[in-house]
Amino acid sequence: MSNVTKKVRTIKIDLDKCNGCRACEMICSASHANPKYSSNNPERSRIRLIRHPIKDVYLPVYAGEYAGAECAGRDKYVIDGKEYDECAFCRASCPSRTLFKEPDSGLPLKCDMCEGEDEPLCVKWCINDALVCEEREEEAEEAEEVKPGDMEMGLESLADKYGLQKIMETVARMSKKG
């Protein structure tokens, strides 16, 4: 196995700089529309702003891994006297909440770091620099890491819900119709 360098993108989130505009949500959902930008809908965004103005809570959260089951225990952070919602910092698309799911199908959403763009678009649209992207090169051992695509993640969640067998039957039925 040979060493390779890969680019790692880290997004630095500065909560103090967030003005709550949700431009990040808008642009993320628009750029993932098909065709690109043809529609937008913050509910489809892979970054969501958890926002309670009265409590001065402004917390952008990125969609992370799909979680088939919810956690047994939950966490709740209090920082500087501000209480954040249960699971607020968690990135999982998890059955316990509606966050990071397609509004119509309920399929999980995950941030793909805007692969193919010069810069993550949420970062580009956050001109107040609450979101800043840092890129660095890292030595990695494995050659190629297999990343699950949107469809694979969606299928996985469907499999959790209906069982793999049921899905295969459905696909078979659908392909006959088509």
Partner: protein
């Protein structure tokens, strides 16, 4: 498919408790775009001019602008339209924030209320599910508090709520509709909402909003974002801080209030305190503002930060924007800004307009001093300036005692009080309280804007042309260099030639002709913004904004697929402008109403002023009384409006 808009309205009949989802006519979008334009058409078609503001037949329309919810930065305005209880004319207040985009994502462009609910209710719109819910438990609750309570009871932290406070429930003529950091405050629309028995409208939407030509549209949006960044790094020199940058006046950001505190009038718009802003005051005010402000915040999809979260010990948190920090402070003659933040908090919960309300109170205390109102009217009122104001604010929103009279605003209160009180209601236009600004030399452009603004609010018409000439030719040349916003090159020359003193200075320069043209351009930009739901703070209000007459047609075309160019957009502006004029004319607006407060300028020029008004009317295609002519209306596809005015004998044979 409809693009940029959803193509659906919600029609709510409160008397019958019915809810309908109605497809809108795409032809209206072509003619009036959306927002204010289509709201106005609905008012014209459906609310007869005899309708009292508090009649069940009056409509209350929450209209989103055509571009709201699209990726266009700053397109987030809700335009609330009804007949105003105060001016009796058409009211259209706007609010920013997040409500309009949310309504679009829920699948609607407008919510149209008619009738009256027998008991207090709120409307809950969740995509296709729309219900009228009981709001008995929200009676008397604060406008900010109500928004939070509704979100909690619906278990929808992301619902966007617009609510009234006690003032709206009690039909106070200066009642506002509050929504997060934004509000639709002017002209008493909160009173109409309260009269209809609507405590709040809550929305949650999770649907897609479509664009006709996405690539093209995003290119334009990226250009705007780029321009905003560059423009923020390059404030305009030679003008006061709030005019140098973009956004609504950056009152939450700036500490330096020398200009406002020394140039605006204190009390009942009476006294200028030319040495107010000392080092000491500056230090204290800075401490107050930084102590009260926990975060600067924006509206949906906008990088500016025009609002702030205000948190003070011993009171609930609220959000503020614009001048409200100063209006109460200055009207009450209190030198401590902390008072401004505290009383504004209470006023926001009550839901009142921060411009008119302090003036009403200052007016009342002047009447007391003059012996027109008596000690009996103020029984129980504390004697210190702060206490007095809190006391009277409570009476007004509760309509208790003298508060009941004052709750109708200075114009109507003065009429009712009599005994010469009318002379004290000296700062109104069309019965509506104005900025407490008293100046020396008449400015012809501002004269026209004050007179003819359909909304009777100077900030809703001014903007693209500097308020005053630059001192040196060098500054002027510098300013016009990148002034791409002008609809015509001649405006650059007007500015270059405009002097502080001498022949080419106020009041004779800009000339009568130029003044009409300048006003037309400035108001055109506001009418376009109000149809698109674009924030004036990124468009019609500041100097050299990212949006202007040359790029807006492209935004509209790419978003909607309508092919509209500058000439087409100008035509829509003229149509909307004339339709609103026709609505108000049909409501009884007269030339005689079109005048600034008598004392707005010390130096007045009656003959010139008549000429200015004549020329402006003529320029617009109106007759001597400010009524659009048949030809004007017909050329704008408003033939039916002309006919109606003809039938009523308002337009006579021409």
């Amino acid at each position: 498919m409809r693009y940029a808009e959803t193509g659906f309205h919600l029609e709510i009949d409160l008397s019958r408790g019915s809810i309908e989802r109605v497809e809108s006519d795409p032809k209206l979008t072509t003619l009036y775009l959306g927002g204010l334009g289509t709201n106005a058409r609905i008012v014209w078609d459906r609310v007869p001019p005899e309708t009292e503001p508090f009649s069940p037949d009056n409509l209350l329309i929450f209209g989103t602008g055509l571009l709201c919810g699209t990726p266009a930065p700053g397109a987030n305005r809700t335009i609330v339209t009804t007949y105003s209880p105060q001016t009796l004319l058409m009211a259209y207040s706007m609010m920013g924030g997040f409500w309009a985009p949310e309504l679009k994502y829920a699948g609607y462009d407008k919510v149209i209320f008619r009738g009256k609910s027998p008991k207090l209710i709120y409307l809950w719109i969740h995509n296709d599910k729309v219900e009228i819910r009981d709001a008995a438990h929200l009676h008397g609750k604060g406008a900010v508090e109500t928004q939070e309570l509704i979100r909690q009871e619906l278990k929808e932290p992301n619902a966007q709520v617009a609510a009234i406070g006690l003032a709206g429930e009690n039909r106070v003529y200066t009642a506002s509709i509050e929504h997060g950091r934004s509000s639709a405050s002017r002209l008493g629309i909160g009173a109409v909402m309260g009269d209809k028995g609507i405590k709040a409208v809550a929305v949650r939407g999770t649907k897609d909003l479509h664009l006709a030509r996405p690539e093209e549209f995003m290119k334009l949006c990226n250009e705007v974002m780029h321009y905003i960044k560059a423009r923020e790094d390059k404030p305009i020199p030679g003008v006061m801080p709030i005019l140098a940058g973009l956004g609504s006046p950056q009152e939450m950001l700036h500490i330096d209030e020398k200009w406002h505190t020394e140039n605006f009038s204190w009390g009942n718009s009476r006294v200028r305190r030319k040495d107010f802003w000392t080092k000491e005051v500056e230090e204290k005010w800075k401490e107050s503002q930084l102590g009260a402000r926990t975060r600067l915040i924006s509206c949906y999809n906008c990088p500016m930060k025009c609002g702030a979260i205000i948190s003070l010990p011993g009171m609930s948190t609220y959000m503020m924007k614009c001048f409200t920090k100063l209006t109460y402070t200055m009207a009450a003659f209190v030198d401590d800004l902390d008072f401004g933040f505290r009383i504004a908090g209470r006023a926001t919960e009550y839901g009142v307009d921060g411009f008119s309300t302090p003036q009403i109170m200052a007016f009342a205390f002047e009447l007391k001093e003059a012996g027109i109102l008596t000690d009996k009217d103020f029984a129980g009122c504390p004697s210190d300036n702060e206490g007095k104001f809190y006391w009277l604010l409570d009476r007004i929103v509760r309509r208790e005692g003298i508060g009941d009279v004052l709750a109708n605003g200075t114009h109507w209160a003065a009429k009712q009080i009599g005994k010469g009180a009318e002379a004290y209601a000296h700062n109104n236009i069309k019965k509506h309280e104005q900025l407490p600004l008293k100046l020396g030399m008449l400015n012809p452009v501002y004269f026209l804007m004050y007179c003819t603004g359909e909304k009777a609010n100077i900030t809703q018409i001014e903007g693209q042309f500097p308020q005053a000439p630059f001192l040196t030719m060098e500054e002027r040349e510098d300013f016009v260099k990148d002034w791409i916003h002008v609809p015509d090159e001649k405006f650059k020359q007007y500015l270059l030639d405009w002097e502080i003193r001498g022949e080419r200075s106020n009041p004779n320069y800009p000339t009568v002709d130029m003044s009409a043209e300048i006003v037309d351009w400035q108001e055109m930009m506001h009418y376009i913004d109000d149809a698109l739901g674009m924030c004036a703070g990124l468009s019609s209000f500041p100097l050299k904004p990212p949006y202007h007459i040359h790029n807006l047609p492209h935004f509209i075309s790419a978003a909607t697929g309508l092919d509209i160019d500058e000439a087409g957009l100008t035509q829509v502006y003229n149509r909307n402008r004339n339709l609103i004029r026709a609505i108000n004319i049909r409501r009884g607006l007269k030339r005689a109403d079109e005048k600034p407060p008598e004392d707005h300028w010390r130096k007045r020029f009656p003959e010139l002023e008549e000429k200015l008004l004549d020329r402006y009317y003529e320029f617009k295609g109106w007759n001597h009384d400010g009524i659009p002519t048949r030809e004007t209306l017909r050329a704008l596809d408003l033939g039916d409006v002309a006919e109606d005015l003809g039938r009523r004998g308002i337009i006579t044979n021409e």
